[in-house]
Symmetry: C2
Subunit: 529 residues, 2 copies
Amino acid sequence: MNGAHSLLTTLVGAGVDVCFANPGTSEMHFVAALDTVGGMRGVLTLFEGVATGAADGYARIAGTPAAVLLHLGPGLGNGLANLHNARRAHTPMVVVVGDHATYHKKYDAPLESDIDAVAGSVSGWVHRTLRPGDVAADTVAALEAARRGVVSTLILPADVSWSDGATSAEREATGTVGAERGDGFALDGILDDDAVRVAASALRSGERTVLLIGGDATHGPGLAAAVRIGEATGATVLCETFPARLERGAGVPAVERLAYFAEAAAEQLAGARHLVLAGAVSPVSFFAYPGKPSDLVPDGCTVHTLASHRGAAAALEHLADEVAPGSTATVAPAARPDLPTGELNAFAAATVIGALLPEGAIVVDESNTAGVGVAAATAGAPAHDVLTLTGGAIGYGIPAAVGAAIAAPDRPVVSLQADGSALYTLSALWTQARENLDVTTVIFNNGAYDILRIELQRVGAGSGAQPGPKARELLDLGSPAIDFVRIAEGLGVPGRRVRTAEELTAALADAFAEPGPHLIDAIVPSLLS
Amino acid sequence: MNGAHSLLTTLVGAGVDVCFANPGTSEMHFVAALDTVGGMRGVLTLFEGVATGAADGYARIAGTPAAVLLHLGPGLGNGLANLHNARRAHTPMVVVVGDHATYHKKYDAPLESDIDAVAGSVSGWVHRTLRPGDVAADTVAALEAARRGVVSTLILPADVSWSDGATSAEREATGTVGAERGDGFALDGILDDDAVRVAASALRSGERTVLLIGGDATHGPGLAAAVRIGEATGATVLCETFPARLERGAGVPAVERLAYFAEAAAEQLAGARHLVLAGAVSPVSFFAYPGKPSDLVPDGCTVHTLASHRGAAAALEHLADEVAPGSTATVAPAARPDLPTGELNAFAAATVIGALLPEGAIVVDESNTAGVGVAAATAGAPAHDVLTLTGGAIGYGIPAAVGAAIAAPDRPVVSLQADGSALYTLSALWTQARENLDVTTVIFNNGAYDILRIELQRVGAGSGAQPGPKARELLDLGSPAIDFVRIAEGLGVPGRRVRTAEELTAALADAFAEPGPHLIDAIVPSLLS
């Protein structure tokens, strides 16, 4: 068999059966092999950033990696921003980058570039396979690394893909890789008894303690353990600002997220003498601001690391059994807001979403500033998962919704999207239409990079004066106004524009009632207007 | 003054007065400085790949660099593919990548990544400025490098941008950088007398000689010299496959381009005993194909390098004076094809374009397979410039048209665009609308990645059999069909769909008659159907 067959056989044998792809000439044997090797679903995207974002959304929901197929260095570059997000979210992913044939590279053909250097900036594992006979073992190694929560990049030269001499690795994959599945804790999240003791002692100190959770502690057992700890000891439980996947809503133990704006985060942490990290990193300001601290840990606060992103839930359970034996976590009560009426704004839109969010929804949240009201409005909605912009690289939401919907075809996906970031990877809507995915996209269309209007003031640019006309123009999306309904329709997704709470209510109800993709262009005023 | 002011003052002082931007928080002081430092036009794009492609198109027409403003590593990643094209085209460009504040980097905030590594893959010059006082000198150095035909990347930490202590470099910029402008030959294209003698000897040998031109030899004087040489010696004159800017049409000395498909290129070069390179690199196959040579130089052919990409025109003029003294180059006669009628296909569409191409047009050609008929149909159209996909990274055309139109506001820009690559950087249409640019985009909409259907067969994937259904599906853009008219309208550009030659004729005539952006969605059958 050739290298392409070996790669596909190995992936499928290890349970990786979805590949988000934007192939080119050097990947044609991989594409052809999809028909000879059964069991792999190829999902076409119109841009590599959609493929990588979809694979991220997929893995956050499925818990297992998807494969991504990219074309040479420029294709990897196009997919880089969402690989950055995946890296920050510890998302398992196997990225296959097709390269020129080994013997062709020395000719420096037009598309030649340093793939390894670019891949290294986002990948926890990078390897270039040089012989067909190595493809199976290299693929297994890529999968092993991915399942530890990194982006694995396998660079596959075209001749390695098309040449014979490769083998099937079904056995190795089942043996080596399968053992790792679903048991992350045992691998790199070895329970640290000392860390549990230190954390317990901090929690019992009587001094203000904050427990900051992240990684695998932001769903099910991790949340329950964290809330038990908080309730038994009086510690404040916070979740990292942009969790990869946060379970919340009615019946789920509720945790507040650490605020994005450093000023607000500093308030949440004020007075803490102990900060216990369980799957989260020590909090820092997203950006630096003149004269303001980057490190958000208050003076006099000691940081204790209980666990890293894997094994955090298990460590919290141990800690809960230590400081809150036999207790049960309080869960959020079911509570929907009343449907608002009248003019639509960011808060009214959030309220409508909270009132109507379907059972078991996956909320992909890239609503940025305009989504300021969503968390409160959905706190008592039926239990749902929220995927957030973990790495901060915009253009994540619409692609991630593709992946989430493919990972969980029976769950409705609600994609909350700011207008500015929607425009990065809009073509993901087409893949939603092509695959008939049950995704409802709500564009919070305020006609501006509203976050940057706020940041322009926060960094003190313009010396406190109002920004000048050129600066304002560079943050304005309203001239000409962008018509997301037409764009969605052009990409095969039915769209509808709404300007009142009643219109949004009707549009959302219709979208939730009818399977398949829908887009709602919700016109809302800027938060600054 | 702060670093941002210093940077802007230095750029403007050196004649760089356009900046294509997609800023973020770390660039807010640069944005604010646009209002306090006069003379810089900030052009907002909705995606970084649009900014970098626009800067490439701008510099290819203006001959001087534009600046690009990008946000951190993910922003650079989004712009990488078109920076790759710029690198391959030797386009002068100054890329400013805003980074976290120097003291903030150690906190590994969510958007932290290895900007330097990624920038290195496309830049001929990369530097990180660490003190406000260095900004002016570093900017001058970036400009000097850019003007030698590379992408210069200046990484500017936010605190260097906002802190005082910087100086104006107007004098240095005028002195150091200005001297370089317009005189590339003297700098790195030192005339090599030996190379001229060797080339002359080859041309006089009586053996078949091919003169392959590129770099600065693809317009005006370079073309004239090359054609004089060909006419006097019988040498075949060819132009590199994807020239950065090729001047052609009525009144311009005509050269054929080296074919994209290796088989066709091999035919053009067959029997050559000498290959003289003037501004072009030795020809290689774009991709490797099983059992086919990568190196397109025929057996027994000696390669002589006359000049690299800069100084090629001057070297050719010396060579022409040596082997063809006193001669004048034949120019292409004015000759427009008759307007076709009936069903539209790729050739009929090309014929309509050839019949109507306006005087002085700039043709941005990313029509790929569907543009197969364009070169022949426009050979006798009024003189025009053609910008091509030099680096092979798709998603170039619509952004490059933005830059070309800004560089030459009095010239009509005709953007010929394949459907698949159009979908990479579609949002460039919005910038065309916002800036009211005179760009007519023709989408060759065949509903497929037609080039890949061809390549799938050429690489022998599927062992000569027809591709299977999964492979075909991954190359298909027809399900759902993409409606470029609606998408264009959603982005503020009027659109029109055409299905016959007559409809295309009417739509093109209207678009050329009315200034401002237009899009024509030309439905054509696949070349393989």
